[in-house]
Symmetry: D3
Subunit: 246 residues, 6 copies
């Protein structure tokens, strides 16, 4: 969308507008800070291609990452917005897309912790626009079937999504989407982090390994990334295409 | 706490203050609207008894329930605050407990959807008070071990926590904590709801069964409620007691 | 209301919903912190019984108590919300009751200082809903006639409402509503506090007696509590019943 | 203050700065909309003269007037801010006076309904500045003794402060402070309004007389205005002068 | 407007209401703090006279002055609101004028830095009221023609509007509008300040001359003030009068 | 910055972090919506290279464009945030960079209307961090000398910065920075828009030409873009480098 002129853009208002949301968050020694944005953006472009949709510029600053699913504020480079600000950004962008004539918005989320504030934004916007506006959101990992997960974790056990941070799925997707940004030689083995049944503040420095990796990325590959991408994109396209001609 | 005089209260500032947070949310035809509050409050009292802690009045209005884990705004009686307002209530109460001399606060949550806004409140408060204030939160179902879950779901399969709404665990806990409030004769069988990999607004009326039950409550019992309560309380007491004499 | 199922609740939308609002505030050595909530709640239940109305869960945290009518922040156990947050809670609950189908809301206030923020909330909500929503609020002491006040203060002079804090009227009402919570043996005599014609911050520690009692509670009785309750309830019922069949 | 140059102003930071707050509110057919501002401002100048204090520009837009003590939104010309905005204005001005070096601020209020939001602003500011900043507020009618009230109401009974709107005290003060603004020939007799024990929204058009006068202004005089002014100013000067050399 | 009774005011709703906005800001050793308010107010009265419009009480506290166009927070007596608060004041006043029946509002601005927040307020209000409300704003210096500027700067070069602070145009206008407030004997010569191509915080104390004068006021006169006033008023009246009978 | 790992990023905290801010705004038929972001970002990278600074991800959604300097909401594709939200984003990002250890932040602005809200954000942040944090902002056109402007406008007269929208300077910069995004064949001649001395809402559809071009882009070239870029970068580098080793 951002590369279009306003005249090109004005012709597309019947289509879905897709807003990718990522984060700036540590992803271990082998992945860059923008992993969640790169992934959300690449999913968005692939879905847009199938549906002839418009991709809005990615929100690259997301909500705070939680200590146990990403390291939170313990690592430099994790640059977050408050929940309220993320939510307000989304509501105002929905208002603007609506004013520009769009009636179908899909929010492609790449960062787990964003979810509650995306949903709050959609709820508030939906109370305003009612049936005149369709709002859908998904996280990229949600449409994956058990079969796909099994295929990806054929060498290592699946540690659960909370610990899949800078690990096999994200690393594989980055190898497929943006191989230049992956420092493969710095992938390390790591003892898996234990999930914890409570949350404590102030956050303790040693709550996760000092590398920021919660689960090893060994066994990642671009092929696995392609599999993850193809499966999720196909599923999301089939969901969204139901609404394309309404 | 609310039944104390201020002089009695003033003697307790070395202890944990426990703030239970629930919701007003439909829980099917057999459970009252205040299930989440009753459960959070009862956990709070049991923990307080073990730790000689103070229980603050329960926040009985929680955050919006999501359509697929409770029915959201589709049912009368679901009376919600916005995320921001819930968060602000919590932050201001933390400020007040701090001014009254407390340095250890535990938030006992009984409603899944509250979690993100409780955590945001704790994060913001913790940035203000730093190491001078200990803040801990847990949901009642998080400290449960796999063994306990297996014991409770000895007759029916565990549908996952998202669908355990007005189902076996909540009904069992209510049978144990507040049997008068359970309409046992209205427990119904229900085809389990399927989880969904995306969220859509406006919410469709038929997204969950018209009874508001996502998974049947058959096989619930006060004994199972006691087991759930005893196990979780024991675990939480052991966590909190580490900090009691600091 | 909180003990109803959603199906029971859904049948009551033609009735008034009554929202009691109290506070957590010091009430001397003989009364608990929740006096204002207990009183507001008991009034609400008595009115609801007469009018077949629904009582929503009490807001137990109120606005800051002023130094000269309750001790303000000088006493532990006074746990307040800011005016804005109290006001926002009320507005959001009105929104929710409206969405659930209610068109008549009565707010029963038990804490003097809440009043300005309740009124602001009603004004803002009323601008939104106009004639489609009836909003009424009263403090429990306002409907009392001079005769009732004279009858209650037959042994001690009436010090004015501002100083009637933890004194004869509140103590009598608590003796009637919740005798278990009254520590009668700790009722003390006290030199009356002088009202002051200005407000100064920071608040001086010695502005009110160290017990938190502004006026003695001697001469309180459950009979006087019943008289206060019966008189005010009768008056409020007669006011509200005018609107019951509209 | 506003007529000073910054260099003149910079010499006065040891003194009190006085901030008058009024309103734009109907005051019947014989008084202008700015009565509350004129009165607050005149009190401020008289006090400032005695104490060598600085008077800041008056906040001429106040909080909403309540229906039963001024006519509220029923009359054109009543131009109000919300409570939050009034409060925020006050807090920000306190911040600015503090940055400019002032450590003593007196807020002279001329409009009853402003009070709760002034007090909330002072409470919030005082939590920020603690003992380093003295904040005092008074309404002009609070320092009046019973003797003064008796002297002013020598011909008509005192209807209580809530109904003293556009009536004897305000009219007398305006006759003294700003006789040009009083339309004496339009002073009318009026049946006194009854106070009401509850507040209802939407506000009914006929809740107060169509003239906006709650109680007659007959018997007002500039002499009574002078008496009211002299008495209140003397009392307030004696209160504030205690703090002048600290 | 503030000197009207509500009945007089109610007859004027077909007219423009003019809201002047100024500031409290240092204006060198020869001008008072309220220069921007005095100028905005005087323009407003002159325009109102021509158009039979209503002038609302001036907002005397404006937005922060920038260091390089007025000295910002470096000088005592500069008493500012935040941008958000100024904006909220304006939006709420627009709401109130609208409720009172006005459909044409003109905001006469006297302080450069207010502009962005006035425009934001108008944009937000206009989204609410659409075509039913006409909102216009201008700064007093914008309608001036090059001829007028040349005539005023016949002795000194025009330094650009940013540096015309407490200089020839403002001093001339004050000599014409409020000669009593001009300390002519304190007008000083000053080396002109250089504009700067970036903004730096914290602001350096020596960024502008210690007198607060960015450009000398020598050559100012009441005649030049009258010329500036007459020219701008005439232009603004011709703009506004297009809308007077719509 | 976004392509770094957290470990690489952690080594750079002595350097400036540069935050580019652009907009999504119509730029005529020959330029894409993201012109302001592309330009701000390219300036940021060139400056960062000279100073070994870190470039944070660009804020691609800016504040509303004004009707007369870009077309405002009249054109599809102009997707704006409110002033408050832009300001809050900036404040929160400053907080985060500060927490990560940075003490020098430069905000490179590419969109005229952002300026007031960037400055408000810097002012608020600077009050919080005082001398411990250096904050600088500039618009790309401000450091240009008259000589450079004369050299660029050697064929067409300079219409003033307000009308230089999608015109010679922006088009030349885009030809230099991102030639693929310029549709040269769609550059049109256009009668220049007249600046206007007031702002009116609702905005009239015909206030600017229907193409969105305020001034022709003929005579643009990549060479002129390089000249503009080299000159401004050199100037900004010389300003910022003064602070590099402090």
């Amino acid at each position: 969308m951002e590369k279009m002129t306003w005249m090109e853009f004005a012709l597309k208002t019947d289509a879905f507008v897709i807003l990718p949301i990522g984060s700036m968050e540590q992803h271990g020694p082998h992945l860059p800070l923008n992993v969640d944005s790169v992934i959300a953006e690449n999913f968005a472009f692939r879905i847009a291609e199938e549906l002839d949709a418009v991709v809005a510029p990615t929100l690259k600053y997301g909500y705070k990452s939680k200590p146990l699913s990403g390291g939170g504020p313990l690592f430099p480079g994790t640059v977050d917005l408050s929940g309220l600000t993320l939510q307000t950004n989304i509501i105002e962008l929905i208002d603007e897309f609506y004013k520009d004539g769009f009636r179908k918005i899909f929010i492609m989320n790449g960062h787990y912790e964003n979810e509650a504030f995306i949903v709050e934004a959609l709820d508030i916007a939906s109370q305003k626009y009612g049936d005149s506006l369709l709002l859908i959101t998904s996280n990229w990992w949600e449409p994956l079937s058990q079969e796909t997960i099994d295929a990806v974790f054929n060498q290592r056990p699946f540690p659960g999504w909370a610990l899949e941070h800078a690990a096999v799925t994200e690393t594989s997707l980055m190898m497929y989407f943006a191989p230049d940004l992956v420092r493969e030689e710095r992938i390390i083995d790591t003892k898996g982090t234990e999930p914890c049944c409570y949350m404590k503040y102030p956050i303790e420095q040693d709550i996760i390994p000092s590398t920021g990796v919660l689960s090893t990325a060994f066994s990642s590959s671009a092929e696995k990334g392609k599999l993850l991408s193809d499966t999720a994109v196909k599923k999301l396209v089939s969901i969204l295409s139901q609404y394309c001609h309404k």
